[in-house]
Amino acid sequence: MRAIAAALLLSAAVLAAKPAPRQVNDTAVMAASFPQTLAEFGFFTDDAGTRPAAGVTPYRLQTPLWSDGAEKSRYLYVPRGKQARAQGDGLLDLPVGSALIKHFAFAGKLIETRVLLHRADGWVALPYVWDAGQTGAKLALAGRRIDLVTPAGQAISYGVPNKNQCKDCHNLAGITMPIGPKAYNLSAQWLGSFAKAGRLDKVPQVSRRIPLWEDRASAPVAAAARGYLDANCAHCHNPQGAASNSGLYLGWLEQDPLALGMNKRPVAAGRGAGSHEFDIVPGDPDSSILVYRFTSTEGGVAMPELGRESRDREAEPVIRAWIAGMR
């Protein structure tokens, strides 16, 4: 399929302008190749990747995925003349030609930028690693290990995922898909303005929205915890995800207490279960496998498996309090 798409798009690629574009290069988004630099896409008007080009809209999630405390900035590109479609509570349906762009920075310095490109034959995920001078980012198909210090002051070997690992998480029934943004994890205000700008067909009805992570102290603990689990776990732990065989499903909309882990025995957790018998023991976080794995940093035990080398000390009390409060 890749070869066919390449043939179809070859003529377009030849015609495309080569110099660094200051508007989005739709050919780079759509062509069947892997652009070697982030700049080729033209998502930003400056080399430092701070000023989004026309059609590239910043957004934030109510509660985001935590990646060793990386500061993230997210952008969504919908090509001119096209529109995203609302699909109720869930994922915005982005047309072919769209892209999702996410910067990862530590101490104000960009480390990597991940892009998800909606091509004619499906979504493609690519990781780009920034140079030390912050002048550009290069494709790192096979991923990378980078030594850095987290905002919590811990020295870690930060893992940039390889292209396949991107798919481990961005995978629904074997097909690469964006994890977000989902309407229930976006603010009503952002959705409203995106629709008003004509980039979204309508403002989706959201029955229950994930609370803002900054508001976790005042939000109901179950909502804060479930929102966090949705953003950090449910991309694999859903019936069509990479962890489908576990039977543990942690999405925001999941209602079955057993699927959520309550009094559920592990399946293929191996030593990830530690000495514990159930994913969640209501009222007893210390006996819950979920807490054990979420607070571990040991390979083969730690969850999520990818993208977490240190502990999320801000989230741990929220998850613990949620389980402690269960009866």
């Binding site: 396949n164 074997g174 489908s244 065989n245 057993l258 399946v267 293929a268 191996g270 030593r271």
Partner: protein
């Protein structure tokens, strides 16, 4: 895999058409092996072979393969070694998520989690792969050595696994499976077939594990209803390693000294095996012992046949509640077959196959303190006569085993 049929068709067409332009990508051991090998696995196209050179590949992260129809091949299970001793991240050494993949002639050592996992990867072949935790049996070893799951068409042939803290070879939530001619030692479970159907486990040597061959069906999983499995002509010898599985795992409940264990499941044939010196029980047939709420789950064993097996020793050091008294009551060793008394009594071909101890548990989930152990002679297994209208075809379950088309990828 739950891919739309059109995509499956397109993918298979691709896999079939591809060998016309197939190429070999050579990857040597040495500096930068992580990046070079992972890039090769990403850039490979259907039909290609990624060829590992001889030597030790020092890896820091899990590898993954997501292209249909690729062969990853080494220079031999002792010559090309993927060494994960320095692994930092990922849940396994190698993850395969594409169909029609062949893995052969290399080794994986000391992964933090599982050795090689293939998920939603139909028609996968593991041939002469070695997965070893070199420090011997330890709780800190990875869980599974060879771990195909959620797949249709699985062939595991001629592999060697040592030291898995769960199962050496584990096939889960899959169907059309052959596990043959493998050697598994020093793992908690040698070979485990879980929530799967149509599996053939044959010609394997499983020794010095906690339990030799396990066939389990567990509740609350996307795929349940395990059965139609044949355990034939295996050597199941001295599985006497103390259980070193972390407590939460289902295999942590497997007594040290188990030869073959069937839990729940239907239509299981235990035939022609040689069981030697498994000190708790040579063959055990039991119900799922724990509480469950899943109404679609059947916790009982049904239709288990124990036929023409050879027994040497065994049952002489049973790790069961009251095991010493039981052993004394039976004159120093338990009979070859242990049944918990729940579900359908196994049927046997007579002789030693029919010599059993029933625990006579009163109900699923009952504790061992409610057992009323008694000797039992198992009834004779007879071919079932199914009344069929003239001209109608006889309903038969499919023959257990992987599609024969996979054999071509498992030859020297």
């Amino acid at each position: 895999m739950r891919m739309p049929i059109t995509i499956i068709a397109a993918a298979s067409a691709l896999a079939l058409a591809a060998p016309l332009h197939a190429k070999t990508i050579d990857v040597a051991a040495g500096e930068g092996a992580q990046t070079r090998l992972q890039e090769a696995l990403i850039l490979a196209e259907p039909g290609d072979t990624v060829q590992l050179g001889a030597g030790r590949f020092l890896l820091t992260d899990g590898l993954s393969l997501d292209v249909n129809g690729v062969t990853l091949r080494g220079a031999g299970m002792d010559a090309s070694v993927l060494d994960f001793t320095g692994q930092k991240g990922a849940g396994e050494g190698l993850l395969v998520t594409s169909d029609e993949v062949t893995l052969r002639d290399f080794a994986v050592e000391n992964t933090r989690g599982d050795g090689i996992k293939s998920k939603g990867a139909d028609n996968v072949v593991y041939y002469r792969i070695r997965v070893t935790w070199t420090g011997g049996p330890k709780e800190t070893n990875g869980a599974y050595g060879i771990y195909p799951v959620s797949s249709t068409g699985v062939l595991v042939d001629g592999c060697k696994v040592s030291g898995a803290s769960d199962a050496g070879i584990y096939v889960g939530q899959s169907k059309a499976i052959t596990v043959r001619y493998n050697y598994v030692e020093q793992s908690v479970a040698g070979i485990e077939i879980e929530n799967s159907r149509d599996a053939l486990v044959t010609g394997n040597l499983v020794t010095r594990n906690t339990g030799g061959i396990l066939v389990f069906d567990l509740p609350n999983l996307p795929v349940m209803g395990g059965g139609n499995t044949r355990i034939a002509d295996n050597l199941v010898i001295a599985n006497d390693t103390p259980n070193f599985a972390p407590k939460g795992n289902i295999v942590a409940g497997v007594p040290r000294g188990t030869g073959v264990m069937i839990m729940a499941n239907e239509l299981i044939d235990v035939t022609g095996n040689t069981l030697v010196a498994n000190p708790t029980g040579q063959v055990m047939v039991v119900a799922y012992p724990k509480p469950f709420t899943d109404k679609t789950y059947n916790p009982l064993p049904r239709g288990v046949w124990i036929v023409n097996n050879t027994y040497v020793g065994g049952g002489d050091d049973p790790q069961l509640p009251g095991g010493d008294q039981l052993k004394a009551a039976f004159g120093g060793a338990l009979p070859p077959v242990l049944w918990d008394g729940l579900g359908e009594a196994p049927l046997a071909s007579g002789g030693d196959d029919a010599r059993a101890l029933s625990l006579n548990l009163p109900a699923q989930g009952a504790g061992a303190e409610l057992a009323r152990p008694a000797p039992l002679t198992l009834a004779r297994a007879m071919p079932q006569i199914v009344p069929v209208a003239p001209g109608a075809s006889v309903p038969r379950p499919p023959k257990p085993g992987a599609p024969s088309a996979l054999d071509a990828r498992a030859r020297p």
